[in-house]
């Protein structure tokens, strides 16, 4: 036993990696299908969107990056499906360089036309506005000064949807996707405080503690990564990839916790062993 514990303290990290890979693969090959209970932030997220009056304007700020795309995509897809099933207007813009491509990829998966939405009339996509919080502020203050054309080069004044929309004053709801944990501050400072716009957030699991600080006063609700996506899929009855990713994460996290426990056993054995020697 003592020999095993000393070996444990010097375990090769490749064994940890191999063990983790095996545990991540298991639920992908054979899904566990464990029950998921819908949390309050997700329920609020659904309620805010489903209670939007007809003709409401929803702005979507895409701030994800390709490295985090797999984490945020399921939640975004569930949100898009929900929004397009209601008679609301949808305007998307990007604050990350990867945003336009990721946004186009997701919209091609959702296919707004299948929900009876027409580009330019019901939804529009704008490209990248660099500058972080300044871009968020610029879009809130004056859309026409931020963008002269949409992502496809159509002048903004030729887009019917934009004819009566030019600032946060004409917007009913902003949904921000962010993976830099402090980026939720941008919308709170530039949209919620000056214009009192309703704000919903979509983020990764690791940034959830940050947006939770603004919930429910400044941020009306949020989807915390893939578990949030899974909950949304269940609540809105929109089957998607969230459940699959959450399933894979189930066993993926187990080795981390297991090795923390084993690491501590080895640590205490070493520590108390030294004290006994003294």
């Amino acid at each position: 036993m003592s020999d095993f514990l000393s070996k444990l303290d010097r375990i090769d990290r490749r064994w940890l990696y191999a063990f983790t890979i095996i545990l991540v693969i298991i639920p992908i090959v054979s899904p566990l299908g464990l029950p998921v209970k819908v949390s309050k932030p997700t329920r609020d997220f659904y309620n805010v969107i489903s209670s939007l009056p007809e003709g409401s304007v929803v702005v979507y700020e895409e701030g994800s990056i390709s490295g985090q795309y797999d984490v945020t995509r399921a939640a975004c897809l569930a949100t898009f499906k929900l929004i397009f099933s209601y008679p609301v207007k949808f305007i998307a813009f990007c604050d990350s360089a990867d945003g336009p491509v990721l946004l186009k990829d997701m919209l091609s998966m959702v296919d707004p036309e299948s929900y009876g939405k027409e580009y330019g009339e019901d939804y529009v996509i704008f490209g990248l506005a660099p500058g972080g919080e300044t871009a968020t502020a610029s879009f809130a203050t004056d859309i026409r000064k931020t963008y002269s054309t949409d992502l496809y080069g159509t002048p903004i004044d030729e887009i019917p949807l934009m004819s009566e929309i030019n600032s946060a004053e004409n917007v009913d709801l902003i949904i921000q996707v962010f993976v830099g944990c402090y980026n939720c501050d941008w919308v709170v400072r530039q949209w919620v405080v000056p214009y009192n716009t309703k704000y919903l957030g979509i983020t990764s699991e690791c940034c959830t503690p940050m947006i939770a600080a603004y919930y429910p006063a400044s941020c009306k609700a949020y989807l915390p990564g893939t578990i949030g996506a899974t909950e949304m899929e269940i609540l809105a009855r929109l089957p998607g990839e969230g459940a699959t990713v959450s399933d894979a994460k189930n066993l993926g996290l187990i080795p981390m916790i297991l090795f923390i426990i084993l690491g501590n056993i080895a640590y205490f054995r070493k520590r108390f062993g030294k004290e006994e020697e003294k």
Binding site: I11, R13, L16, T20, L32, L34, K37, S39, I65, S66, G67, Y69, D70, D98, P100, V101, K104, D105, I125, G127, L128, A129, P130, G131, G132, T134, A137, S138, D142, K145, T146, L151, Y152, G153, D185, P194, E205, T208, P209, M210, A212, A213, G225, I227, T230, S246, D247, K249, N250, L251, L253, P255, M256, I257, F259, I260, G263, N264, Y267, F268
Partner: protein, 217 residues
């Protein structure tokens, strides 16, 4: 370059712009101030766009010099040439087919950039596991509370946690809603105060970091 151009003019521009932005933010709605703020923020977006071009030029310069110095046969030169090739490929496809909104750009992006980024992210997960094994030791009360809260919250975030032990759900939610929110809000307020102090020092041309940048350049 004189101190006027290096330090005084940038500070003057920063101060004038900041005063308008601050006044517009805190004053009651005013069309003229709103118009000025709109112009300033849209200029900032344009300036930020030029920094992307500048970044690309620095990238070409850095890797170009490396290829010249090390040669294409060396390992560093080889990787630098791949970086430059990818840059040229993306810029060419973007320019040739009409920007980043085209299916051609989407195709190369989703098949080159996205897999690389996902793999990098995936590797981080494995490093996290290795780091957690070696670093998360119950050495002090602070480390213990961090470890216990982290493990409980992580277990709440995956379906298997509540499925195995149902109280984990309310424990995880409590950790997120109370200790986390208290600490995070404290952090946000402290950061805001720090930002105000740095902003005031910058406006008065007393901020050392701005001065040091001017001196270095």
């Amino acid at each position: 370059m004189s101190i006027t151009i290096k330090s005084l003019i940038p500070t003057l521009i920063t101060t004038i712009v900041a005063i308008f932005i601050i006044v517009e933010y805190f004053a009651p709605p005013n069309a003229i101030l709103g118009e000025i703020k709109g112009s300033f923020t849209s200029w900032a977006v344009i300036i930020a766009s030029f920094t992307i071009i500048l970044g690309a030029l620095y990238l070409v310069r850095f890797h170009g010099l490396k290829i010249i110095k090390e040669g294409l046969g060396s390992q560093e030169g080889f990787f630098s040439s791949i970086t430059l090739f990818i840059l040229v490929l993306f810029v060419s496809v973007g320019l040739a087919f009409g920007g980043t909104g085209t299916s051609q750009y989407n195709l190369i992006y989703m098949n080159i950039m996205k897999p690389i980024a996902s793999i990098t992210r995936g590797i981080c997960f494995f490093y996290c596991i290795s780091a957690a094994y070696r670093a998360f030791k119950l050495e002090s009360w602070e480390a213990t509370s961090m470890l216990v809260a982290g493990v409980l919250y992580s277990l709440r975030q995956i379906p298997i946690g509540p499925a195995v032990w149902s109280p984990i759900e309310s424990i995880g939610d409590w950790i997120l809603a109370y200790p986390n929110v208290g600490a995070t809000r404290g952090g946000i307020v402290a950061t805001a105060f720090g930002s105000i102090i740095i902003a005031l020092r910058t406006l008065y041309n007393k901020e050392l970091s701005v001065k040091l940048v001017s001196e270095v350049e």
